[in-house]
Amino acid sequence: MSDHSKSSPLKMYFSVWAALLVGTIITYKAAFLELGRFNAAVALTIATVKALLVALFFMHIRGAHEKLLKLVVISTIFFLILLLALSMADYGTRLWS
């Protein structure tokens, strides 16, 4: 994963950095808008986009020369979601509350 591109990636690094900062500002501003239940959705969507940016570009997942690392990332997220979703299968369907 080290030698994916010899051309200078500086431009890419700085644009990702700028995008992350913009994302932070939007998250912050959006939190003060009245969006009802969409507040959380917006915040989490932006957070996910930011996390993806960091993982893909800063952590070089995008340029990784093998699929294995991607597989590691994807399966980790999969098991994390399992934990959350299957717990919710209980909490979401308890007859009261």
């Binding site: 994963m1 080290s2 200078s8 990636p9 500086l10 690094y13 700085f14 990702v16 950095w17 992350l20 900062l21 932070t24 500002i25 998250t27 912050y28 939190a31 003060f32 808008l33 009245e34 969006l35 507040n39 959380a40 915040a43 989490l44 932006i46 957070a47 930011k50 996390a51 960091v54 993982a55 800063f58 952590m59 093998e66 699929k67 294995l68 690392l69 597989l71 590691v72 990332v73 399966s75 980790t76 997220i77 098991f79 994390l80 934990l83 959350l84 717990s87 919710m88 909490y91 509350s97």
Partner: protein
């Protein structure tokens, strides 16, 4: 899965017969540097997977109580300083940038930039912890630290200013807040330790365009800690902010 078993067969280099021709950083049980690098990066990613699950348990608890006690969580969340939180997010993002710069500097043999970036990264890290400290201090003074002196009386709920949040439920929020940000800060501190070590190595000129694996691994760790924060920020600071 595209990884293939080590291809190079090397008859000459087993036992202790490491020739001087060998890269000194190559450990004896690896056949070639690429294999060693690949092992390190896979190892690091798997370690990060365990970290994800570690925080995952906390997110699970958070999710459940946020659903149960949404309004109390909203009120409690509103009491922490979102501006500081946003600033800290920005600080961490900047530090992630300096990390990739450091790696790029190593790849391109720019020693000054490498050392400068590492120092900057650490400064950002320290700044983050400092701001965090200010935040904790505020919470402490407001008696929002869970425990015997905890108090959260008569704090209105964001959506219904005529109602007060249940202090007990707010305390659960603060427990999670302190545990999650505390563990995150602990990771930052460990990160600073790793970066001190990297800085020393860089100072000694250990990193070359051929060998900078420790930098990369340290960087992966640092970015991961950044990603955790990217989620913690909206989840803890921005639950129910609007007026």
């Amino acid at each position: 899965m595209s990884d293939s078993p080590a291809v190079a067969i090397h008859g000459e280099a087993h036992g202790e017969a490491h020739g001087a021709a060998h890269n000194p950083a190559l450990l004896h049980h690896f056949a070639e540097p690429q294999q060693q690098r690949d092992a390190a990066s896979l190892g690091m990613w798997i370690f990060l997977a365990t970290e994800v699950m570690f925080f995952g348990g906390l997110f699970c608890a958070y999710l459940i109580y946020r659903r149960w006690y949404f309004e109390d969580f909203g009120a409690a969340s509103k009491s922490i300083n979102a501006t500081l939180g946003a600033t800290n997010t920005a600080v961490l993002i900047c530090s992630s940038l300096t990390v990739v710069l450091a790696i790029w500097a190593a790849q391109t043999s720019r020693r000054a930039l490498l050392i400068g970036s590492l120092v900057l990264t650490m400064l950002f890290g320290v700044a983050f912890l400092g701001i965090k400290g200010v935040e904790y201090k505020e919470k402490f003074e407001e008696h929002h630290v869970p425990g015997a002196s905890f108090s959260f009386d008569r704090v209105p709920i964001p959506r219904h200013p005529d109602q007060y949040a249940n202090p007990q439920h707010a305390q659960i929020f603060f427990s999670l807040y302190f545990i999650m940000t505390g563990l995150h800060a602990l990771h930052m501190i460990i990160g600073l330790g790793i970066f001190t070590w990297l800085l020393i190595m860089a100072w000694k000129g250990r990193f070359t365009p051929e060998y900078y694996t420790p930098l990369e691994m340290g960087g992966l760790y640092w970015h991961f800690v950044d990603i955790v924060w990217i989620y913690l920020f909206p989840l803890l600071y921005l639950i129910d902010r609007h007026p």
